[in-house]
Assembly symmetry: C2
């Protein structure tokens, strides 16, 4: 397997509304997407675009703001330890989610559950941070329509 | 100020040698730079390239592996809490480090010290995570020779 594109950096927050204000007013983000609920993952999600180059705009990895949704949200534990929020996971793209799952399992890394549909509408899974240098890692199948994007 | 390019994701590790092996063998990284010491910051550093697009290669944000260098290294505290390592900071580029410092200070964000030369040879500063949604944030002046890169 080859290292794929860094699709996004997941950042947990107690309030997407407050974080959106922060990214717009302090960080100067120009493109902030509409927040939406992802009940299957127990999170509310909002993507902030970063520029791919030095001219501003979009096309770089996104910041994925994640806020707990529901009492069983997996983000509650993280926010209990980090009440202001913080870096939660990194997400890399792969061309084939099932091939990637087999790859990580063959390397002895603990894949957390079966592939399921993620925030971009393509299958994803997470790999246990203990097997990933302490980094909770999301693996995401590249959206088909965007397969040539940025390459 | 406009949000700049995500230059790198800083990941603390107890062993750059082990992390390099992990990024090569498990993550499939194709371009891993030579590690070097950055005594002024109390860290040993190694950059792992990520692809900018879906065809593999380089040009995306780098992973900056950081290992403690010396007893006074600021990474010791992080590794005491996270023995396996983990996500340490995010670094964004700006065109002018002094303008950026004035911007963040005007927003009430605590800039940690004066600009100093960072791992890419250009001036950098860090901003306190408590003022940045829990994310330790490095601000880095874009290398002049790379000003057009990727844009």
């Amino acid at each position: 397997m080859k290292l794929g594109r860094l699709n996004h950096v997941g950042i947990a927050t107690p309030s997407i509304a407050d974080s959106v204000r922060f990214y717009r007013e302090v960080m100067g983000a120009e493109v902030i997407r509409e927040p939406f609920d992802l009940p299957a993952q127990g999170v509310k999600v909002c993507f902030v675009d970063t520029p791919i180059g030095r001219a501003g705009g979009t096309g770089g990895p996104q910041i994925e703001l994640i806020e707990p949704l529901g009492e069983g949200s997996p983000i509650h534990g993280f926010l209990a330890k980090n009440p202001a929020g913080g870096q939660h996971h990194l997400c890399y793209e792969v061309p084939d989610i099932h091939a990637a799952k087999a790859w990580f399992e063959a390397k002895g890394a603990r894949v957390l559950g079966e592939p399921r549909i993620g925030a971009h509408g393509t299958p994803i899974f997470f790999v246990h941070p203990r097997d990933m240098g302490g980094v909770l890692t999301e693996i995401m199948e590249t959206p088909k329509m965007a397969a040539g994007h940025g390459s």
